[in-house]
Symmetry: C2
Subunit: 314 residues, 2 copies
């Protein structure tokens, strides 16, 4: 049986879908801080899907949940990078300490395989673009990025010390249906609140890679079959980028709204800890014969249409 | 006033000596888990040296200790790398969480400068020798290494989010007087217990760089004056290596003992999580016009002589 932490969340619920489709039994652990039961409601009648309401900081409950598991997909985390500028222990607890508890409960239950959702945020402001997995030093500038790098290090150390196999995925920006945060989500909510004005944090020239959530979970499962190190570390992304200005344009276009004034707060970053440009080199992923079905702008437009529907802007 | 966490420990007490010599006022925070008051006894009558018995996990007491500080030298940590194979939360608490508390108490008190004792352990089993600061990915294989990388990431994220200046020092093996752990310390204690037999963990072909503790603290202070980034990351070492077999030879020679049977437990590493070979590229340090006074073998022989005296083998 596979265990998905954060399985009721945005990426987690899509991973559950993919695992179920491949015939796996799945146990979900989620504290429903940002996850939602409705993201899993289509599995209500499926005996292969089990949901446990558990916070990963509860080590005793987690040890119980780990029984009978062969592979852990550890996706639970605080999804709101910006929150670290205000509350400094959220990423420490929901990121680093949660990962420690996952690994410790795996060790005690002799569970040997873990896939982990890391992030391009670990690269901080890299001076090599596109950025390969070999780039260093890794100097994240957000508390979220620090918790992801700390979690990578814990996984690597656990495997080096106690054995096992790890898959560390450094995600680009992942977007798609059921999105609960991020720039597209924010823009649509802003237009819902005020159809005449769209405030963009920063100068809008921030530029990042966007990967469809379905390509993301497909590549995660592809790598379990096709990567053969004890620690398998891969950038997951599309190999191109899109600017925040272009995203704002697409959101306004797809909203059908007219006379929207797009206003920029200025400065090269949206908030302290925001990395103005991220661009992952994904050659290593492509070398395993995985090809994303959508590039950045296409998946942004798909997502805008889906979230406009989900959020109810139209 | 400067604050030294772990200031009663091996490296910390030498740093306190150097700071005092340069005319600084110094506050020491130590929980005396491995630090010793006797390492500071020569400062007993010096009003410029203040000692606070405080565990870094006590955030409230640490916030108090941070008042009036302009530069933090964060050296406190669990010094016993091997311990992580048995107790999995020591490095998490005494490393990662302690660093979080140091940074949070700095933020609250508006303290902007931090030097941090990181380690070559963050490189794990690097496939580039000598290893530069740009080497990646960083996949530590010990829980100690994971806590050092997590702490680096926290410092970088704090500076990226809240401002400040950081000096991250990736130490080679640091040796010298007042050593409380490590291979030389262990060998001398073993010979004290049994003068006929010296057990060496692993095959003895493990090979690492050894830097004198005085060169180490001198280079730390040199970099504060000579490095000008917001995050200044430097390998600290000597640019050469010495094998464990050679260390065993030197210990036996200097002990004056005859008929010592040196026995190897075999295997390429001393324990799970031991990195068989570490060799830091220190060109970046040398480029700041710092030159270590001693290379590895010379500083090992000095240390052997000093610790034979301190431990009382002769």
């Amino acid at each position: 049986m596979d265990l998905v932490t954060g399985g009721a969340g945005f990426i987690g619920s899509h991973l559950v879908d993919a695992l179920v489709l491949s015939g796996k039994k799945v146990r979900i652990v989620d504290n429903f801080s940002s996850g939602r039961l409705e993201f899993l409601s289509h599995h209500d009648k499926n005996d292969n899907v089990e949901i446990i309401n558990c916070d990963l900081l509860d080590l005793e409950q987690l040890k119980e949940a780990m029984k009978g598991i062969s592979h852990v997909h550890h996706l639970a985390a605080n999804p709101d990078i910006r929150l670290g500028t205000e509350i400094t222990d959220t990423d420490l607890k929901q990121g680093t300490l949660a990962t420690y508890n996952v690994l410790e409960s795996m060790r005690i239950n002799d569970v040997k395989n873990i896939s982990f959702a890391s992030s391009s945020a670990i690269y901080g402001e890299a001076d090599e673009m596109p950025t390969t997995e070999k780039y260093g030093p890794n100097l994240p500038i957000s508390l979220y990025g620090a918790s992801k790098l700390a979690s990578e290090a814990l996984i690597s150390a656990w495997i080096g010390t106690f054995g096992g196999i790890g898959y560390i995925h450094r995600f680009a920006n992942i977007v798609g249906p059921r999105g609960t945060h991020g720039v597209i989500f924010d823009f649509i909510h802003k237009l819902k609140n005020n159809p005449n004005r769209l405030e963009v944090l920063g100068d809008g020239f921030q530029e990042k890679s966007y990967m469809s959530v379905r390509d993301c979970v497909d590549s995660m499962l592809h790598l379990i079959e096709n990567a053969n190190e004890s620690v398998n570390l891969y950038n997951l992304g599309t190999g191109d980028t899109c600017s925040v200005r272009r995203i704002a344009e697409i959101v306004v276009e797809e909203s059908g709204l007219e006379n929207v004034s797009v206003e920029y707060t200025g400065g090269k970053r949206g908030w302290a800890g925001d990395v103005p440009k991220t661009f992952l080199n994904v050659d290593k992923l492509l070398s395993t014969d995985f090809k994303p079905t959508r590039m950045s702008e296409e998946t942004i437009r798909d997502t805008v249409m889906q979230l406009i529907y989900e959020i109810g802007l139209k």
